[in-house]
Amino acid sequence: MLTTGVAGLATGTVTKFDVDRIRLDFPILNQQVHGKPLVYLDNAATSQKPRAVLEALRRFYIADCANVHRAVHLLSERATTAYEGARKKIQKFLGAADEREIIFVRGTTEAINLVAHSFGKKFINAGDEIVITTMEHHSNIVPWQILCEDKKAVLKVAPINDAGELIVPELEKLLSPRTKLLSMPHVSNALGTINPVREIIAMAHSRNIPVLLDGAQSAPHMAVNVQELDCDFYAFSGHKLYGPTGIGVLYGKTALLEAMPPYQGGGDMISSVTFEKTIYNRLPYKFEAGTPAIANVIGLGAAVDYLEQVGMNQICAYEQDLLAYATDKFERLPGVRMIGTAREKASLISFVMEGVHPHDIGTVLDQEGIAVRAGHHCAQPVMDRFNVPATTRASFAFYNTRREVDALVEGIEKVREVFA
């Protein structure tokens, strides 16, 4: 049996996790919507920001705002120190070997596009194959489709079972000498499935196939160590990791990044420019053309500091406990079917309800103050696989409570009343 090896997953009991205190760190949670206390369960779409992040953004704009890597004046020096300091924090957070392997991008989407463009330009040729899975977010499908069309390469899709788990032997069959990259989610945003990526990466590496992990939904929920996983690329979005919008990270192994051509051209990514010849800057700047999202990088650094203070393993264990509590309640709800029942799941529940469309569920729950996502979750192939047009998804963060799960269940009863 493959296991995900996620530390917090095994821990059954949660001790000393003071969620009431945690909630005080997130000012947005303390409000009413439609006259009811806000129950925010759309964390997989974006998560809320702790004071520490808001304060870091404020401090930057009030005290340190200047461009980075450019000027000799004090403010620029402070901005550069804070910006590069955040890179070191993220290197540590991901367990990367070197801070030059941390490239700032807009988010997971841009990270994957960067790899598709740059790795694709250099390493993908006609007839080559790229392997993805059925449980992709559209951002790990479309960039590869564009690349494959451009290069006359072939996109292969590994299937999933009825529980929403990857069928690993089928994936293995797709790996061939023509496979140039395996790109897959660490955790599925539509199903919650945690994939056994360590084993899969080893399997791909034994065939010399590099692996990109879409970490958009794993970074916020578990301790991730890219060296232990041995993935070649890892992408995540800051806004799902309790940080600002507009910032994300691409981790890549040095040797690969060195071999890849730049993604965009401009300032910062060069070491010298003449009309005859331009010499590109060293890593990571080769991939960071133009003025970066300085404040957001610093804000993301603050988010990582905050999460480390709470403890990723504590977060994981708490969320697993909450998920077990919610799953138990959902299993007993008549007419409700969970989509995504993998043995190892991150803390979200995707479900359909007999006779009621997710969009209507979303509206009724909203009136109860409960924010969920209704739709295809940018994962239409998953919807097709389960033969549903859409699902309702409640995705939990470590500031959510059992009381909020209860509110969700009561909200679903309310839905039933409206459509009785």
Partner: protein, 151 residues
């Protein structure tokens, strides 16, 4: 504060559960597909036009209660209407669900039962659900080929 009962009126819930004129239409001579990428709702509208008159109209697809009921009640309303009358109804209905109706006392008279959709105006994100079938039928009527999208 908007009221759920205003949105999910009995008539709407009824039509969403038992949509009328649902399924393919034999002898249809015009059709169009409408899509709401936000929620994945997709409907096909089939039209049987005779000269300038809607002789029959059906729809099929999957959608939320609002879009299904709106499509269902629209098909009932459109039968026997001229192209011109249908275009006018589109405008009046659109006006209703986007909240312009109060100023227009004519609205409920023209729309009849469809006036139950007035509650949608309190739920701006649901306007697209209510109008999906209407955009689609208009495009079918005009003989436009492209997939109709609410975005």
């Amino acid at each position: 504060m908007p009221d759920l009962r205003e949105l999910y009126q009995e008539l709407i819930v009824d039509h969403s559960k038992r949509p009328r004129n649902f399924g393919k239409l034999d002898g249809a001579n015009q059709q169009a597909v409408g899509y709401n990428p936000l929620c994945g709702d997709k409907i096909t509208v089939y039209l049987k036009m005779k000269d300038d008159v809607v002789e029959d109209v059906h729809f099929e697809g999957s959608g939320c209660a609002i879009s299904t009921a709106s499509a269902s009640m629209m098909t009932e309303k459109f039968k026997g209407k001229t192209r011109q009358e249908a275009e006018e109804l589109f405008e009046v209905f659109h006006h209703l669900v986007t909240g312009g109706a109060e100023k227009d006392s004519d609205t409920s008279g023209k729309l009849g039962k469809l006036a139950v959709f007035a509650g949608v105006s309190e739920f701006p994100v649901r306007v697209k659900c209510a109008t999906l079938a209407w955009h689609t039928v208009r495009s079918a009527m005009r003989g436009e080929q492209a997939l109709v999208s609410t975005e």
